[in-house]
Symmetry: C2
Subunit: 620 residues, 2 copies
Amino acid sequence: MKPLPFTKVRVTDPDWTRRIDLVRTVVLPYQWEILNDRVDGAEKSYCVRNFRAAAGDIKAPHGGMVFQDSDLYKWLEAVAYTLAVHRDEALEKLADEAVELIVHAQEEDGYLNTYYSLMKPQKRYTNLMEGHELYCAGHMIEAAVAYDQATGKDRLLQAALRLARHLHGYFMPRRGYPGHPEVELALIKLYEHTGDAGSLELAHHLIDVRGAGENQLDLERKDPDHDWIWEPMKRFDDQYFQAHQPVREQKTAEGHAVRAMYLYSAMADAARLGGDKALRDACLALADNMRTRRLYVTGGIGSASFGERFTTDYDLPNDSMYCETCASIGLMLFARRMSWLTGDPRYFDLWERALNNTVLAGMGEDGKHFFYVNPLEVRPDAIRWNMTYEHVKPVRQSWFGVACCPPNIARTLPSLSGSLYARSKGALHVLSHIASQFEDEGLRVELRRSGEDYTLAVDGPALELHLRVPEGSELTATDGQAEVGRHIFRHPGGEQTYRYRLRPRLRVVRANPKVAANAGKVCVMRGLDVYCLEEKDNGPWLSGLCLKEGSLPREVPGQTMDGLPVLEAEGLRMADSGYEDSLYADLKPAYQPVTLRFVPYRAWGNRGAGEMTVWVNSLH
Amino acid sequence: MKPLPFTKVRVTDPDWTRRIDLVRTVVLPYQWEILNDRVDGAEKSYCVRNFRAAAGDIKAPHGGMVFQDSDLYKWLEAVAYTLAVHRDEALEKLADEAVELIVHAQEEDGYLNTYYSLMKPQKRYTNLMEGHELYCAGHMIEAAVAYDQATGKDRLLQAALRLARHLHGYFMPRRGYPGHPEVELALIKLYEHTGDAGSLELAHHLIDVRGAGENQLDLERKDPDHDWIWEPMKRFDDQYFQAHQPVREQKTAEGHAVRAMYLYSAMADAARLGGDKALRDACLALADNMRTRRLYVTGGIGSASFGERFTTDYDLPNDSMYCETCASIGLMLFARRMSWLTGDPRYFDLWERALNNTVLAGMGEDGKHFFYVNPLEVRPDAIRWNMTYEHVKPVRQSWFGVACCPPNIARTLPSLSGSLYARSKGALHVLSHIASQFEDEGLRVELRRSGEDYTLAVDGPALELHLRVPEGSELTATDGQAEVGRHIFRHPGGEQTYRYRLRPRLRVVRANPKVAANAGKVCVMRGLDVYCLEEKDNGPWLSGLCLKEGSLPREVPGQTMDGLPVLEAEGLRMADSGYEDSLYADLKPAYQPVTLRFVPYRAWGNRGAGEMTVWVNSLH
């Protein structure tokens, strides 16, 4: 299965173009101001200043985190995808400026990192565990490839190739790998775009050396004089870095969730390109473990705040988890690669679950407020007083010092077009039913949507049209045409239109009973879209509410939120009379009937701080 | 209501004398070895060494925590109560040695603290927030009073009076108070035992100055040169220290749970002695807030690990809480004082809840292993990998560096005799139905128990006998005698025997529905004794088990654990078939009937590491 690149496909669905336009008109200009430290009240980024200093334009020390460079690269990558959708001259001018800055900040031998260039030029690659040089390099390479693809301008791509050659020269003879994966998948992207064989070779090397015998990171950790950047890192184990085993032996999703997703994404790419069965099997096992044991219903991952990491099977607390937006973006990256690797479109259920819930929830309606942590249960008073929930916020926050998530969302939304279609021998796969169009090698396709009714207009040679059926939805051909298999149309060639209906089911979902946090509870979903209760609609003390077993939610006519219908269902509120004098009593519980109002999870927290819960008690 | 002192009452109930004997024969000798650093494998205490160094016997720096002295004082207090029960010459000899050490470590002006004497003699009372000098002084005074009461030896009591006079001279003219309350209740105890008016005056002063305008602790915190002992303290707020308001205005239980209990205990004493209505009202409000909103069903308190503290109303997570053993011991101290203050015996329900569940659970059967943190839900794999639960242990631990809990349990068990009876005008109150006997001012009483049948033999002048009915139990007179009111016998004078039956009900208890953690769940209790499910009896994945609504637990004939019957009930196990391929599914849940086996919470974790839960899903 070979994906159609983002450059060829154009999203036309108004719900999605609205978001993509928001990125172009608000998010990216706003983030540019942020990166230039020109937004009052926001934490200083120093990002552009660091590049200007490294380029020799100004004299200044490095500011911000050691991985601050990556914010500019992610911004630039987002601009590239955006420009492919909509030629915006002003934005392109800013991007060209950024490219020049980066090119000038690069050292003569290809090395590129403002923190080390400015602060510790003699210490390059001495702190692979924490230094993030390779992580930043990876984001630079991704930006360069995207910018070349989108604009045809290869100035940054040439810099990326110089950087890749420099990395190849340094790392191929050594047993080191990045503390934070990212460069691996970027190098493979660079190889796929340019054919640069050294990049692929280095990616394989960095993947293979991880967790396989003594390496530089072990030595750094044992070194009593190691120059630690973050004290807590001392407590992190090999699992945190996905370095507890050689990657081909890893069967469970472990450690820092973003790191894991970026590594697994590279592994899936490497397995696909190298036909590496052991690596492919590891990817299958990791994806399975995550999907069946370590995944939140919202597509969130990372059950613990300390280490922002996976913990153990079925440990999925709803209120103390991390569920970083970036981790769900990483899950999208991994999931789509798993479909490309295996030809199985069902991995796009993971992709869609992560995108439609956690990733979309990550950015507010205004494009300027963000969730880094995406809880499934929030009680604002508890968050305030109980440090177990300290990292959880009841409303979206403005820019942070560690600003990984906002630019990551910004690059994700305009790049969606690269995940909608794929081709395999004699077949076109419709992986996501986002209205869109493309033209590729004599094939012209346009997917239109009207409510739940879709029209797929195809013009081109004979092929099969494989329509993915998202989990929780029903897909039926609606005009009795050439449906030749389950959700496969045979296109005989020429110009033809196919009609189908895709109906997301309103569902009351339970978790595997091994998940202690969800015992006795249900989650209301519509297809893969998760719903939640908010205090704003249902009053305080959401924990006293129950959905009546057998009560199916219904759409409230005419009421939508963030493009999805608002839902209602019959429920009960457990009375708290009898508990005035004691917290605990052996009373027969009493219930009052109430109407529960469910809103899309992705739209939660947009109406002020209040309680929220995804999982709702169920009463028989 | 005036309690009968521990010196007069003798516990005879075999279940309790077994524990009290364990303290005498195992716990105290073992802890003496620990305090002397003679136990292989245990973390070093340095406690006795510190005193020897401060006394000038050896040269050594201070070792261990700044509050290490308190371990010896608590040990000595425990010995005192133990000697009152059982004259043990060997133990008394050790105690006399300890007394000599302490007396010699005291400075000429009455000051006593080995940390400051050895390490920072010029820095006395410069770190009231963290230094624990007053905390240690309080435990010294408590030990001294108890040792004099138990043995009639007043050498330590004289030292305590010198210390109290020194404290009076230093603190009366100043606006400082201890970061950790304890000295307040100790000074009141000293006053009640000796009549030393200055001690009472100082206790009032230290209570009144807390939270009331600028004071030394504020200045310490603002001082950029403050010599911090614990970095995390910097993040603690006024609530942590119960200093957010003048104590008479405090209406909610806040901050570090042990600190809160020790302070509230002193407040209750001060209100009783001073007839201070505002202080009494504050105590009533604090006890109410805790009992109706911030108390675990096990009598545990402290919902958060960070700060070991109260958080907010109804925030009672079962797996990430703190519920320190010492905090429940503190709750016992506060609760009994509330009964003495108000004459209302129902505060002993709190006392009994804390004692029978969390405090007894705190020590293992062998007297050498302890829980500091008392969870209501444990999944050992999650504890291992998710740092949210890092402080929770699935089995009892041996001695810790911060060894507050073990000696606190050791002093609590032999001192129980002081909480069993109280007298008020014309009445004797039986507050706890632990078989025991006493003789006091011409009144001889013996309470005997056989199963649920009690005999109260009274010999003495006419009075009313008020029998407390513990929450969750039924009390009925069994031979139709002079019951003149609800659970009141009128004793006409002379020798008479009264019979009653006290039957703890098997109960299925729910929490106020505002407690999110317990929604849809029930707790099985027998009277005030909490039961739990353990993996050992019920297999793994306890979260998949449900108690059938209406299924009442029953005693398993002939099977007991830690003196209580083992219980069984009809339950269901939710099948996890259908969840192999996905963690989430809209399946109709399937159940298999199972027999649930409940064991007393206080005996959990004695059979190896495994899952445990107090709150069990309930299915209608």
